[in-house]
Symmetry: C2
Subunit: 131 residues, 2 copies
């Protein structure tokens, strides 16, 4: 799943650049001796750190070590920290690391995850006016 | 010089972490379709982007493309942009990309480069009091 993983990370990078963020993939984030996320992005106002997780199916069990590493990095860097979750045939969902309710992402709480637009502060809310 | 280059980048990463910055190396910065530096660092206040250049000897000729790429990335990301220059047997010197006087770094202007402490805003000036 390594190859595919990189493709999905590129997909996320493309989206970030398209929406006005400068985004980079972190080199050897797994092998590094320092805490580091997979992707870092900023538009000069909002700074974001993403730990990317891709799975074929739910549930996904996030690791406590990944969570702590992500939080430590983001605190020093000054970034908002998110798990970016890609499940096959579903669109990306984002989970704020400092507000994570559970390390288990099942069908129910996957749907509660944020969409990218919400993470970036581009709220695409449609007000349903009563008629 | 690829292997050695990575070692020097690690040395710079270590220094940044030691001084309270979260720092990451950018994956495949050369091969990417987006502008990207070699290293990005932040302490939550100061955000820095470095393009790292290592040579055995001076002069070093910086590339205009590298400069433009670094400036474009840093403008969107909201980072201060620097060329980080390592010459064999000399300590690192840093050159602010948006204030570069020349693309040629020779012995004379190498010495005018900033030290890391100055880049990070940690001025280690010693006032020489007359006695």
């Amino acid at each position: 799943m390594k190859r595919k993983g990189t493709n999905f990370e590129r997909e996320l990078l493309d989206e970030l650049w398209n929406r006005g963020f400068a985004a980079i993939r972190v080199a050897g984030s797994g092998a590094m001796s320092y805490p580091s996320p997979d992707i870092v992005a900023s538009n000069g106002k909002k700074i974001l750190a993403f730990e990317v997780k891709m799975r074929r199916n739910l549930p996904l069990y996030l690791k406590k070590d990944d969570l702590e590493e992500l939080l430590v990095f983001s605190k020093i860097f000054g970034a908002e920290a998110y798990f970016a979750v890609k499940i096959a045939y579903k669109s990306w969902r984002f989970f704020r690391a400092d507000k994570l309710e559970s390390l288990k992402i099942d069908n129910e709480n996957f749907e509660k995850g944020l969409e990218l637009g919400e993470v970036l502060g581009i709220y695409e809310q449609r007000r349903l006016t009563d008629t």
